[in-house]
Each structure stands twice: as structure tokens, then as C-alpha cells.
């Protein structure tokens, strides 16, 4: 997309925000795929959630309705709950296996 010079546009094109959210989301996915530390993987999930939140906010700006804000608020709440449980799980996993290597924890296979 050609960047129009600032004086030409009033404000920032909405598409930039969405693109930013896409990039962040992709980076989150990348973290999920490439990192092997459970905690890092977990944090990449949080990153994805944040990216989605951003797109929520951006769209609710476009639609001039604050429902998007409320959705992202709920996302935060769920993320909090998820963090609590997830970290507890990670603690137990570490307690039982003395490792955070996600590839060591492959008992899904069998």
C-alpha cells in the first residue's frame, strides 16, 4: 500500500491499525510455532489475543459502536482466567517433569 504523505490524509488510515493487528497476530503464531518453552508459547497466545483485541477496537471505531470494546474486555477477562489456570498447569507440569520444553511433553501421542 502506498503511504500517502501525512498532510494529504486527515488522521491515520484505519487499515494501518488492522495491518498492525495482523502482523502482531502472525508474530504470535510464529512464537507459538517456533518457541519450545511452554511459557513463551503461552505468551505468544496472549500476543495473539492482544492482536485480536486491537482489531476489535479498530472495527468498533469504524462502526462507531463500543461493542468491540466490550468484546475485548471479555477477551481480557478470559485471558486472565486462562493465565491463572494455564500457569497452574505449567507449574504442575514442571513439578512432574522438571522441564518446560514443550517437545518433551509429547504424551499426547500415546
Amino acid at each position: 500500500m502506498p503511504f500517502p504523505p501525512f498532510q494529504m490524509i486527515a488522521g491515520v488510515p484505519l487499515t494501518w491499525y488492522l495491518t498492525l493487528s495482523v502482523v502482531l497476530f502472525a508474530l504470535g503464531v510464529a512464537g507459538f510455532l517456533f518457541r519450545r518453552n511452554i511459557i513463551t508459547v503461552f505468551m505468544s497466545i496472549e500476543l495473539m489475543l492482544n492482536a485480536v483485541n486491537l482489531s476489535f477496537i479498530a472495527f468498533s471505531y469504524k462502526l462507531k459502536q463500543n461493542d468491540g470494546h466490550i468484546f475485548s474486555f471479555f477477551v481480557m477477562v478470559v485471558a486472565a482466567a486462562e493465565a491463572a489456570v494455564g500457569l497452574a498447569i505449567i507449574l504442575t507440569v514442571f513439578k512432574n517433569r522438571q522441564t518446560l520444553e514443550i517437545d518433551e511433553v509429547s504424551s499426547l501421542k500415546d
Binding site: V29, F32, L33, F34, R36, V41, I102, D103, V105, S106, S107, L108, K109, D110
Partner: protein, 618 residues
């Protein structure tokens, strides 16, 4: 008017006794059980009084509580209605029910599962009242099934004896056949009248012409009749009733003599407008009735178990009522329902009192000479006897006479058969009474019969009074607004039937008091027919051979061995094996590394987005 109180009170009694009865004292249980029924009886009196039933100015009254089912055109409300028919039944059910509850307090005093018994009894009252009060066929059906359930529970009350549980099952299963017919009838009514409310349905029927030959209305009527034969123990479904005597005697009196078995009569009388629109159906009702009456009476001749005798007499009396219905004399048969409720309840309660006195002995051949030992029971039982024998001016005379008159108008042969049956009735009832009270005692010498406690003989006395004087409660006149004027028969009919009744009594006296040798001689002389009659014409065996065995074998061989094992299990196991086989193939893809799965997910997401994008014309 709070009609709902009438059934709800016994239900409350059931709830209390059923839930906490185990912990309550007998006095408390009695108070709850009898009290609830008493209250609902009083409430019935108050309601009927305010509705003006007692000065004859009762008009139909309806209460709507809430809409139970509302789907599309189907709209079924919980409505209770009172009209003259209902009024009669309410009086019978609550009144006789109350007496029998009081009686049961004495009778069951020494039984186990005391609270269970009374809880069931109250539950029965609830369902019976719902049945009677319900203002549409579905509520009627609810009550119908409910009383069936209670009858099952109470027949199998002594569930430790196998015969009791068997009898319960038999009653339940046989009734299923009738209920099947009934439910079909309800469906048909819905499909053809678009409603189940009595008012609407009958309103629509009025507009229709009387069906000359078989049509929808006839079909509906006949299906209703099937239901009625099931509940009211008519041919060919009467077989459960005699066995139902396995239950405690108050149960036999309340459920299997006075109230529940008359539900069929109620249902047909309630559906009178429908039946009146199908001549053939009415004929069939009448024929079923008369056949049952005669058939059961013949069986009754040779029974030796006192309760069995009365059971068959019940069947045969119900047959009379059907004759009344079939010949269009609805009011007469309702009248007979009432009188029958009085004297048959009295017979059973009296028999119960006798059995109580002999501590469990039911065989007539081991009784005798009890008149001195238990005078009150004896007297009351004879009151019932004369009532059922149709001796004027006692209650049975009026109602039976009305029915027979209607039968004569309809078809003379029915009249003659009915009269003959009346004679037989008189004969076997008095046979039982003479065997029981006259002659000398043939039972176990060690046991000393004793008179029952007042809680038992007071209800007996009341019922005796009712069965003597009940004929003067002019039910037909009361029901005139619903079923039209009761038609008077010629006097000679009356004389004939009375003569037959008295004749039956005389023969019984001759056979079993004067010359006890004669019946044995007869039994020997006609040993073949006697054995037939004694074994109830082998009907049960016949049903076993034709229906029960095939069903059992069929379900074992076909349904179990083939259908269930081969097909269903085959399908299920097949599904399982196929699934595991597929899984074995697919597990290659399951590396167990979360990140692989994530990769798959991402790939899929990308594909979806690409597809959507291209579709969106990207």
C-alpha cells in the same frame, strides 16, 4: 371455587406419607391419610353445595389453571370441570373412598409397609379425582394411567409373594392393551375434532349426523370401548381383575370394586355424545356388556375363594353397566355404578372383615357358622346381598331394574339374558354368604374368630345403610339434563327380575343350608361343565397359549437372538471397530507435538482465508 383443592389434598397426603411416613407414628399416618381424604370430601360437599348440586340446579362449571401444552393448533390446558356426571362420581369417589380409608386403618393395623399403603391409597385418590375432574381427554388419560399405576402398586403390595407381583404385572400389562386403544382414540379425536376439550369435541359432534354404518366416529368409539374394557374388566380383557384380589382387601374394595374399575363407565358416559353418533358402537358396547355379565356370573357360580366370587360378581355387574351404556340408558348405568359402589364395597369390606376374623382364611370351604361369631359383619353382608340380588326396595333393585328395562326396549334377548344373570348373581352371592355364615364351622379349630374393631365395622354399617337405602337417591332424575328422561319399562319386567333374584336366593338357601348334598351331586353329575366353570373356562390358559407364550418366544428368539444380538450389537461393535481402524490409520498424523498441531491449524486457517478471499473476488 378452588376445584384444585379436591385432588391436591390427597396428593399432599401422599407426599407427606410417602416422604416422611417411615419416620411417622401410625397415628400421624392415619391422621394425614384419612384427614386429607376427609378434607377433600368436605370440600367436595361445599363445592357441590355452592354449585347447587343438592337442590338440583347444578350447571356445568369450569376452571382453567394454566396452559399445559401449546404447540401449533394443539392447545391443552389444565382445566377442571364439574357437571352432574362429575358430581356423582366425586361423591362416590370421595365418600366411599373416605369410608374405605377409615376401614383400612383397622384392617391394615398389623401389616408392614403401613405408610406405603396409605401413601399409595392417597395417590390413587388424587389420580382418580384428576380423572373425574379433568376437562379434556388428556387430563382424563393422565388420571387413567395414574390410577392404573396405583392399582399396580397396590395389587403388588405384598411384593414378597410372587403371585402378588405377578398379579400386579398382569393387571398392568392387560391394561396396557386397553390404554393403547384409548390413546389411539385420543389421537383420532385430536385429528378429527382438532381439540381434546370435552366441550369443543362434543360441540362439534352434535353437528354431525349419526353414522349409519362404520365410520370415524365408530372407530373412535370402539377404540374408547377397548380402553374401557381394559380398565373396567370387560371381555376379553377382564382376566386381570380376579387376580387383582391378591392386593389387600380395602384395595379390592376401593379400586377394584367401587371406583377405578368404573372409570371405563365414566369415560364412555362422558363420551356419550360420541357414542350416540354411532349406532353400531353402542350395539357392540351392549353386547360386550351382556356377554361379560353372563360369562362372569357363570364363573362366579363355582368359585371357592370368597374374594374371587365377589371379583367375578364385580365383573358381571360392570357388564350390566355396559349394557346400560350400550342401550343408551346412561343415567341408569351411572345409577348402578353408585349403588354398586355401595354394596360391592360393602361386600368386599365385609369379606375383608371375615378374612380378618379368620386371620387370613379366604376359602369358603373352610368357613361356616360365623354368624354368631361376627354378627355385625354377617348382618351388613346380608344387607349387601339383598341389595345386589335386586330385592326391592333395596338399592340394587332400582338401578338394575332401570338397566334391564332399557335392555328390553333395545333387544328382548338381552333382557332375558340379563335377568337370568341376575338370578345367577343372587345365587352365587348368597351361596358365598351361606357358606360363610351358616352351617357349622369347618375351618381351623384352633383359631377363634373375633369381631372387627369399630374402625372397621362402622364403615360397614354406613355402607350397609347406603346399600339398603341408596336406591332412593334418584340419580337418573339428577342426570336428566345430561342424558334425557329415564324411560320407564313395563311393570312385568320388574316382577320377572325380582322373581329371578328371589329364586336365586331360594336355590342358594336350598343348596347350602337345607341340603348341602345337592351341590356335590350336581357337581359330580355335570363334572365336565363344572370343571370348565371351576377353572374359569381355561381363559387364562388360553391367553397364555395364544398370546403370552408367542410374545415371550418371539421376543427371545427374534428380538433378542436376531435383532438385538446380530443387528444392533453388530452395528454398534462394527462402528467401534471401524472407528478404531480409522484411528489406526489417522494416528500416523498425530505426532504428539503441540506445535505440529498448531502448524496444521495455521495451514487450515490460511486455506480458509484464501478460499474466502478468492470467493470475495480478491
Amino acid at each position: 371455587m378452588q376445584l384444585w383443592l379436591i385432588p391436591l389434598l390427597p396428593l399432599a397426603g401422599f407426599a407427606l406419607n410417602g416422604l416422611f411416613g417411615r419416620r411417622l407414628s401410625k397415628a400421624a399416618i392415619n391422621a394425614i391419610a384419612v384427614g386429607s381424604v376427609l378434607l377433600s370430601f368436605l370440600w367436595v360437599l361445599k363445592t357441590l353445595n355452592t354449585l347447587g348440586a343438592f337442590n338440583g340446579s347444578l350447571t356445568a362449571y369450569n376452571e382453567h389453571y394454566y396452559t399445559w401444552i401449546q404447540s401449533g393448533a394443539l392447545n391443552i390446558g389444565v382445566d377442571f370441570a364439574i357437571d352432574r356426571l362429575t358430581a356423582v362420581w366425586l361423591m362416590i369417589v370421595t365418600g366411599v373412598g373416605l369410608l374405605i380409608h377409615i376401614y383400612a386403618v383397622g384392617y391394615m393395623a398389623h401389616e408392614g409397609g403401613y405408610y406405603r399403603f396409605f401413601a399409595y391409597l392417597n395417590l390413587f385418590m388424587f389420580f382418580m379425582l384428576v380423572l373425574v375432574l379433568g376437562a379434556n381427554y388428556l387430563l382424563l388419560f393422565v388420571g387413567w394411567e395414574g390410577v392404573g399405576l396405583c392399582s399396580y402398586l397396590l395389587i403388588g403390595f405384598y411384593f414378597l409373594e410372587k403371585f402378588a407381583t405377578d398379579a400386579g404385572n398382569k393387571a398392568f400389562i392387560v391394561n396396557r392393551i386397553g390404554d393403547f386403544g384409548f390413546s389411539l382414540a385420543v389421537f383420532l379425536i385430536w385429528t378429527h375434532f382438532g381439540s381434546l376439550d370435552f366441550g369443543t369435541v362434543f360441540g362439534k359432534v352434535q353437528g354431525m349426523p349419526v353414522e349409519p354404518n362404520v365410520g370415524w366416529i365408530t372407530a373412535i368409539s370402539l377404540l374408547l370401548l377397548v380402553g374401557a374394557t381394559g380398565k373396567s374388566a370387560q371381555l376379553p380383557l377382564y382376566v386381570w381383575l380376579p387376580d387383582a384380589m391378591a392386593g389387600p382387601t380395602p384395595v379390592s374394595a376401593l379400586i377394584h370394586a367401587a371406583t377405578m374399575v368404573t372409570a371405563g363407565i365414566y369415560m364412555i358416559a362422558r363420551s356419550a355424545p360420541i357414542f350416540l353418533h354411532s349406532a353400531s358402537a353402542l350395539d357392540i358396547v351392549a353386547i360386550v356388556g351382556i356377554a361379560t355379565a353372563f360369562f362372569a356370573a357363570t364363573i362366579g357360580l363355582a368359585q371357592t375363594d370368597i374374594k374371587k366370587v365377589f371379583a367375578y360378581s364385580t365383573v358381571s355387574q360392570l357388564g350390566y353397566m355396559f349394557v346400560g351404556l350400550g342401550t343408551g340408558a346412561f343415567s341408569a348405568s351411572v345409577f348402578h355404578v353408585m349403588t354398586h359402589a355401595f354394596f360391592k364395597a360393602l361386600l368386599f369390606l365385609g369379606a375383608g372383615s371375615v378374612i380378618h376374623a379368620l386371620s387370613g382364611e379366604q376359602d369358603l370351604r373352610r368357613m361356616g357358622g360365623l354368624a354368631k361369631k361376627i354378627p355385625i359383619t354377617c348382618v351388613t353382608l346380608f344387607c349387601a346381598g339383598v341389595a345386589i340380588a335386586g330385592v326391592p326396595p333395596f338399592s340394587g333393585f332400582f338401578s338394575k331394574d332401570a338397566i334391564l328395562a332399557a335392555a328390553y326396549e333395545h333387544a328382548p334377548w338381552m333382557y332375558w339374558l340379563g335377568v337370568f344373570t341376575a338370578g345367577m348373581t343372587a345365587f352365587y352371592v348368597f351361596r358365598a354368604l351361606f357358606l360363610c355364615f351358616f352351617g357349622e364351622y369347618r375351618g381351623d379349630p384352633h383359631l377363634h374368630p373375633h369381631e372387627s374393631p369399630p374402625s372397621m365395622w362402622i364403615p360397614l354399617a354406613i355402607l350397609a345403610a347406603l346399600s339398603l337405602g341408596g336406591g332412593y337417591i334418584n340419580i337418573p332424575k339428577f342426570l336428566t339434563p345430561m342424558f334425557g328422561e329415564p324411560h320407564e319399562g313395563e311393570p312385568w319386567l320388574m316382577y320377572v327380575s325380582v322373581a329371578m333374584g328371589l329364586g336365586g336366593i331360594l336355590i342358594a338357601y336350598l343348596f347350602y343350608v337345607v341340603a348341602p348334598a345337592i351341590p356335590e351331586g350336581l357337581a359330580k353329575a355335570f363334572s365336565g361343565p363344572y370343571r370348565w366353570i371351576y377353572n374359569k373356562f381355561y381363559v387364562d390358559e388360553f391367553y397364555d397359549a395364544t398370546v403370552v407364550e408367542p410374545v415371550i418366544d418371539g421376543s427371545r428368539e427374534l428380538l433378542w437372538r436376531i435383532a438385538d444380538v446380530r443387528m444392533i450389537d453388530g452395528v454398534v461393535n462394527g462402528a467401534g471397530t471401524t472407528a478404531s481402524a480409522m484411528g489406526n490409520l489417522l494416528r500416523r498424523a498425530q505426532s504428539g507435538y503441540i506445535r505440529d498441531y498448531a502448524g496444521w491449524v495455521v495451514g487450515g486457517a490460511i486455506l480458509v482465508i484464501a478460499y474466502l478471499g478468492l470467493k470475495g473476488g480478491l
